[in-house]
């Protein structure tokens, strides 16, 4: 049987690449995209993207034989879902296997931001400890945590923060009947009533810039923002001016509007922790995600039910 052409848009760990190549004809864009498409478009039946680069409207139009988009992510904002639905193109994603890692990262960002762990690691390495003690940092245990989006990841974050005796509150499109946390029907009230605001919702038209100037002001100069969702959830310009003007206690960011570029102002700040979109970046989880992507592709081409379909 002719090997099935799969176009991979994102980076892959070694395990993923090896396993994928055992079962499919894997290709990646060359430097000359036009040339590449001319030669390969007709043999590409599947696309793999991730949370940063996905099957856009334009790409879908260029791949007439495309049957399935298997995203190596749980976020779907980079895929033109409407077009996929119209064309009958299947879409799968990788929910659940990465929930723990992303929730762990949210807490890691809270701890490293509040307790200045990265800064003090640099302090020791540069020899400054010999000159004097490090400064005070902010206690985490007992601080109120407000979560935007109480889905699987938001719930996992809440469970961890509870172990630190943090009172938990949340905003969601609608109140969750089984959640034992305080509900706020709007983000502004949530921000006014918590010290650490965590963004954990999916990105769509309603949630773009859900953290704006008013929300930042409501949180205040002793407040912290942690973003493990999408850069566009926060009005990045307003966030930068708040940080530069000292109107926020600090931020921990895993995502940015224009990755891998980050706003200039962040380089000069010591009350921020910056990590390069590593939410699901563990060998264990990447293996599980790889297995799930490959499993979905195999199921599709064998006419079996998809493992984790979106469409």
């Amino acid at each position: 049987m002719e090997p099935i052409g799969v176009l991979v848009l994102c980076g892959m760990c070694d395990y993923f690449e090896e396993e994928l190549k055992k079962k499919f004809k894997v290709s990646k864009f060359s430097d000359n995209e036009e040339e590449f498409l001319k030669e390969n478009a007709n043999s590409i039946r599947a696309v793999i993207g991730n949370g940063v680069i996905g099957a856009s409207s334009e790409l879908i139009d260029q791949l007439p034989k495309l049957e399935i988009v298997a995203s190596h992510s749980v976020g779907l904002d980079k895929i033109d879902l409407k077009k996929c639905k119209e064309r009958g193109i299947r879409v799968t994603y990788t929910p659940d296997v990465l929930t723990d890692d992303v929730a762990d990262l949210a807490i890691a960002l809270i701890l490293t931001t509040l307790r200045k762990i990265c800064e003090s690691d640099r302090y020791v390495r540069s020899g400054l400890w010999k000159k004097g003690d490090f400064k005070l940092s902010t206690k985490f245990t007992g601080k109120s945590v407000g979560i935007i989006g109480l889905g699987k990841i938001g719930t996992a974050i809440a469970k961890r923060a509870e172990a630190f005796n943090c009172p938990i509150s949340y905003y969601s499109r609608s109140e969750k009947p089984n959640a034992n946390y305080k509900y706020f029907s709007n983000v502004l009230d949530l921000a006014a009533n918590c010290q650490i605001l965590v963004v954990a919702c999916s990105l769509n038209e309603e949630t773009r810039h859900i953290v704006n100037r008013e929300v930042i002001d409501a949180l205040g100069p002793k407040g912290f923002i942690i973003n493990i969702a999408r850069g566009l959830h926060i009005d990045e310009l307003e966030l930068m001016s708040a940080l530069v003007e000292g109107r926020l206690g600090g931020v921990g960011l895993d995502v940015y509007v224009n990755e891998p570029w980050i706003p200039e102002q962040l380089y000069g700040l010591d009350n921020v922790v910056l990590v390069p979109h590593v939410g699901s970046n563990t060998s264990e989880t990447r293996m599980a995600m790889a297995d799930l992507v490959i499993g979905n592709l195999e199921a599709h081409f064998l006419n079996k039910p998809l493992l984790t379909p979106v469409l």
Binding site: D100, L111, T112, R122, A163, T282, E284, R286
Partner: protein, 328 residues
């Protein structure tokens, strides 16, 4: 209405501040309204002479955890009844001398427990998910020039071995359980009320753990409790986090194991010879280093001040101390 009268300083009970820690300004007034402090650093007299001069009025002193309180100093204070240290650890105090003279010792009780537990978890997460390294990666522009950051290691499902299941160890256990870790421990005695697996031998604990968290007190028995045998049992995939005292770990052996990749990594808030850190560690990417700052938060300091004042009042009113340490 007339302002309340300032107490006459001569009438206030005396407290010796030996190598005083900086008072938070909000507590300075409260303290000086209740107690008369004697501060050797404000005198030109050499320490022993200062102490001998005031010896008769000194029944209680406050010291910090960072410098030893030797019998040499204590011998200058024949009226001393109570030593209060602003640390949790009491290994810097000549306990034999205190025991022999019936001098009581009080420490910081539980005021630091949560902050230390938070730092233990923070160091572990930072190590496994490579947070300081990733932060440096972004700040140095490597995300642009080198591409994706290397993978870290998942926390859930890992076996955590806690050496010393006291207040701090228990708080660490509670936090890590929420991340899906399995908890076991070593302690002087088994604790029948906890649901965790007990290992009477630290080496066995290490052999059955992916992560060792050191949170016990430093005593003659626990000096270098983490030695070559234990590190070797922990193995290539194992990591160790120390928030107790530097001397709980054989530091030379730890450095060697890290350099040879015989263990995977370490998160350290304490070292054998602070503020000196073995220079080999400064270049390693599989360690997270912290300058003994686990308790350095305004929240802990406020709680410490409250406790100090409460202990002093209890002492002067012959009431039970709030955080006295059993010296037996």
């Amino acid at each position: 209405m007339a302002a309340p009268q300032q107490p006459d300083i001569k009438d206030l009970p005396v407290v010796l501040l030996l190598r005083p820690f900086p008072f938070i300004s909000s507590y300075t007034d409260i303290f000086s309204n209740k107690f008369r402090s004697l501060n050797p650093s404000t005198s030109s007299l050499p320490l022993n002479q200062f102490l001998t001069t005031h010896a008769n009025s000194i029944r209680v002193l406050i010291c910090s955890g960072f410098k030893p309180l030797s019998s040499e100093t204590l011998e200058c204070l024949p009226s001393l009844e109570l030593v209060i240290t602003t640390s949790t650890g009491i290994d810097h105090i000549d306990l034999n001398y205190c025991r022999s003279k019936g001098i009581r010792v009080a420490n910081a009780g539980d005021v630091f427990t949560e902050d230390v537990a938070d730092i233990a978890v923070g160091l572990l997460l930072s190590l496994l998910r490579k947070i300081p390294e990733a932060d440096g990666y972004v700040r140095n522009g490597f995300w642009l020039s080198k591409g994706e950051f290397p993978l870290g290691s998942k926390i859930g499902g890992k076996r955590v071995g806690i050496v010393g299941l006291g207040s701090i160890g228990s708080e660490v256990a509670k936090r890590l359980e929420a991340f899906g870790c399995m908890i076991s421990y070593n302690s002087r005695t088994k604790k029948n009320t906890v649901p965790y697996l007990y290992y009477p031998d630290v080496r066995d604990l290490a052999a059955n753990s992916d992560i060792l968290i050191i949170s016990c007190a430093l005593t003659d028995e626990t000096y270098h409790i983490i030695n070559k045998n234990v590190l070797s049992a922990l193995g290539r995939e194992g990591v160790v986090v120390n928030v107790g005292r530097g001397a709980l770990i054989d530091e030379k052996e730890l450095v060697r194991s890290l350099l040879q990749r015989e263990i995977k990594g370490a998160g350290l808030d304490v070292f054998e010879n602070e503020p000196d850190v073995p220079k080999e560690l400064l270049q390693l990417d599989n360690v997270v280093l912290s300058p003994h700052k686990a308790v350095l938060t305004p929240e802990s300091f406020s709680a410490l001040h409250e406790l100090l004042i409460a202990n002093l009042e209890a002492f002067f009113f012959n009431k039970p101390l709030l955080s006295s340490v059993n010296l037996e």
